[in-house]
């Protein structure tokens, strides 16, 4: 039991010690993952609405593909993007490997299928009368999309929160594309992996608790923003 007790104590110490380094790592994690969610939403939500609105052959197959991609292993995304971003790769000249931008791209790729897929479900969950109501009131397709965003915002928020959770909790991409560089690309998960490797199990577990706390705070903030919106 000492093991857990120690981890809890360290977690408390971490949170209240105001240790700049720990907070910097937490902040890096949050802003990278939020930015990834931002871009994944920018792409995934409109695509989700589009797929939901349109009838086309292969729609069921697309859903199946997206369902499959939701299980994409993070290391695989890391490996694929490494191949693109390495100096030898097609996008090597950008020189973004081992920068936060690389992690953002990786996490974006990771959670795009999630946000896309859940956005389709969200739009599908809208009242069947909604589309006709919009059309009857003279909405263009774009305006109709905006109304859908508003009407299914709860389900969409769930999609974003799910995406954020997957992004901030993943380690494979952050490690592979970020390189776990201290003060630059070290995220909470790569820090946890590092401490685990060093045998600092209690400290690693404490960091894990801090990660959960941070995720909880961000989710609470999103919920709060959503409530203000009503």
């Amino acid at each position: 039991m000492d093991y857990f007790l120690q981890a809890f104590q360290q977690a408390f110490a971490l949170i209240f010690s105001l240790d700049g380094e720990v907070y910097a790592v937490a902040w890096t994690s949050v802003r990278i993952s939020l930015t990834a969610v931002f871009f994944a939403a920018l792409i995934g939500v409109p695509l989700g609405l589009l797929v939901s609105f349109k009838r086309f052959t292969g729609k069921a197959f697309l859903r199946q593909i997206l369902n499959t991609l939701m299980a994409l292993p993070t290391v695989v995304v890391g490996l694929l993007l490494y191949g693109l971003l390495t100096r030898q790769g097609p996008m090597g000249d950008w020189g973004i490997l081992y920068t936060p931008v690389a992690i953002i791209i990786g996490q974006c790729v990771l959670i795009l299928p999630i946000i896309w897929n859940l956005s389709i479900s969200a739009a599908d969950s809208a009242d069947p009368r909604l589309a006709a109501t919009c059309r009857a009131l003279g909405a263009s397709e774009f305006q109709q999309g905006l109304v859908f965003l508003k009407e299914v915002r709860f389900a969409l928020m769930a999609a974003l929160v799910t995406g954020f959770g997957r992004a901030i909790g993943e380690v494979g991409i952050a490690m592979m594309l970020g390189g776990n560089i201290e003060g630059f690309t070290r995220t909470m998960t790569t820090a946890i992996a590092l401490e685990t490797m060093k045998g600092e199990f209690e400290f690693a577990l404490a960091l894990g608790m801090l990660l959960l706390l941070v995720a909880f705070l961000v989710n609470a903030l999103l919920q709060y923003a959503q409530r203000l919106d009503q």
Binding site: T35, R87, Q88, Y98, I181, T196
Partner: protein, 270 residues
């Protein structure tokens, strides 16, 4: 209210994406080097003096050299002489220079059932372990430590295998934990051993022989192969860590009040 949220979100995104203004130099090194904490005292004086940030990417030896081969880093600091030479001979690296060495230690249960403590040379120590009831835990992961271990067996003329020999296939920390659980012998780098010292019951049963030394070299990525690398800056770094100042930092670095690294660079002024 909504507008404020949108503005905040965009600020966050812009802030995250904004290209870091500071110049950065990339060093690939092994996890054990990074974990020892040496670089956190060695790099800041350099960064301050040259106004450049050193990004340390800590990975396995094989991967570190692979990154250098791909031109994703500017230099490597590793301890795998054979692989290093291959890397240099293939033209990917230039200017390979000795920096320092640490050493490996043979660990075993305090009771030392195989009597390794009585050995005076590594080959004798290995002979005693081979076939002992306590057994031996190998990293078995093709790491530098694993390669060193295989070299020690070969020097003693032993083909490791059988019930007493177990390959963990994991990192040093995990291998130490397994050895501790089984109260078996194992080979570890001193840095990791010191980090784990308080958590395990194993003790050093053999140390100090030159065969157990673990030399570190710095190698610069060949700008002929990868024109984008910051060769001049990397050269500065190499010069710095091999200068009197750098070497003094290395020699003075302590973990649990023990010296971990021994300066190896041929003295030359800055």
């Amino acid at each position: 209210m909504k507008r404020i949220q949108v503005v905040l979100l965009f600020l966050l995104v812009a802030f995250t994406l904004a290209a870091p203004a500071q110049e950065r130099l990339r060093l690939a090194t092994t996890t054990s080097t990074e974990n020892s904490g040496l670089l956190t005292v060695l790099n800041p004086p350099f960064e301050k003096q040259y106004g450049i940030k050193v990004d340390v990417i800590a990975v396995g030896t094989g991967k570190a050299l692979r990154l250098a081969r791909n031109g994703d880093v500017d230099m490597v600091l590793v301890h795998a002489p054979e692989a290093e030479l291959k890397f240099v001979n293939e033209g990917y690296g230039i200017d390979r220079q000795p920096v320092m060495h640490n050493d490996f230690v043979l660990l075993g249960p305090p009771s030392d059932p195989a009597g390794v403590r009585q050995a005076d040379v590594p080959s004798t120590a290995m002979e005693k372990i081979a076939g002992s009831t306590a057994g031996f835990i190998s990293r078995g992961d093709d790491s530098g430590t694993h390669k060193k271990e295989l070299a020690l067996w070969a020097a003693a003329g032993i083909e490791p295998g059988g019930g007493w020999y177990l390959a963990a296939g994991q990192g040093m920390g995990a291998a130490l934990k397994i050895s501790d659980d089984k109260q078996a012998y194992t080979l570890a780098d001193r840095g990791t051993y010191l980090a784990y010292k308080d958590k395990i019951d194993l003790v050093v049963v053999f140390q100090g022989a030159e065969e157990l030394f673990n030399p570190y070299h710095i190698i610069l990525v060949n700008p002929g192969k990868h024109p984008h690398v910051k060769h001049e800056r990397a050269q500065h770094y190499s010069d710095f860590i091999r200068s009197d100042k750098g070497q003094a930092i290395i020699g003075g670095f302590r973990v649990s009040e023990e010296q971990l690294f021994h300066p190896d660079a041929v003295q030359h002024g800055e």
